[in-house]
Symmetry: C2
Subunit: 212 residues, 2 copies
């Protein structure tokens, strides 16, 4: 370990933790100026190293972004899974909570969200990224499974389709209305309420209305 720092707290030659420092800087910069405004050079500056140093830890700028997105998907999956809470206390309510968690994540972690969905990374940026993204979707998938099981067997919708629809609604609302500092469009209701209404109507259409 080289945690050596001189008297004034400035590290000497070797940083000791540059990889993490760069990721932290990237999160700050993305939150502040969007994924497009994020700059490798500026992250290096924030970490107090030269512009070439980051290349010892990331192949290029996109690799850093992909790493941030990957961590984002992991946290995202956790957040959704926590909201789902194995369908407690009741699957339909828990399903709704998952939708709210989706929006909450988009708002409370704008940097991660931007890296995940707005950085326009090449789809094959890294195997880990696709793995993490798949894992996050799997949470939705499992929740849909349980919700669909509520329907009588002869009218049971495919769980995969339901999970894709849920993802679509949450993502659509997050993209259109829950990003940007002041929500780029004026709405007569909060994004959360808009999503909850959509999910309710959708479940009603499946014959899974909470009143049923």
């Amino acid at each position: 370990m080289s945690w050596s720092k001189d008297a004034r707290g400035r590290r000497s030659y070797h940083h000791g933790n540059l990889r993490e420092a760069l990721i932290a800087a990237a999160l700050d910069l993305i939150a502040e100026k969007g994924p497009a405004g994020f700059t490798f050079a500026e992250a290096a500056r924030a970490a107090g190293v030269s512009a070439a140093a980051p290349y010892r830890h990331f192949r290029d700028r996109d690799a850093l972004l992909a790493d941030v997105a990957c961590r984002g998907f992991e946290r995202f999956a956790e957040a959704l899974d926590h909201a789902w809470d194995e369908g407690r206390p009741e699957p339909l309510a828990a399903f709704d909570a998952v939708g709210r968690a989706y929006l909450a994540f988009a708002r409370s972690e704008p940097a991660y969200y931007a890296a995940m969905f707005e950085a326009q990374l090449p789809p094959d940026a890294s195997p880990e990224l696709t793995r993490a993204s798949d894992a996050a979707f799997a949470v939705l998938r499992r929740a849909a499974e349980v919700v669909c099981a509520l329907a009588p067997a002869d009218r049971r919708p495919p769980a995969l389709m339901v999970s894709l629809h849920m993802w679509t609604m949450a993502h659509g609302i997050a993209s259109l209305f829950a990003r940007g500092d002041a929500a780029r469009r004026k709405l007569p209701m909060t994004p959360e309420d808009l999503l909850e209404a959509a999910v309710l109507i959708y479940l009603q259409g499946l014959g899974l209305g909470p009143a049923a």
Copy 2:
């Protein structure tokens, strides 16, 4: 008009149509490399002028992008309006056609779509842009109005909410599944079918099922 060209077809000093040429070049470049990969300098090169020339026609790079996005919204509104066709032959079927037109536009005009929704333009990029975008949404709004009127007065959903939901579903599916050369995620069905199913279930939930 200065359409003067010399013997080899090279224009002389004044281009004569640079503004349009730049927009055309921008569309090509965005289609090819995404809105992030689009470059003011390269558009200038494609038009055969120096790198500084575009500044006579656009305040900066974002202004060109905003102009492209603006035209995109105008075409988009036309496409949606044409699909809606004033609710003919039947409002529910026409509503569905609007959704398909949304996806069709995202796929057939990837450059416009990218400038409109993926360029991350500052929300207040230009008044014209917001006007054009509002006009496109107004088409959805009017269609929702007619569809909602099909419901009995005491169970009539707010048309604004229905139009926002429709926008959400179409946009969510377009963003997640209908972009990128080969659709970044594998689906068990086409995006069009996925959207149609969602709209059908949603309308069913509103008590507006086609079977009703």
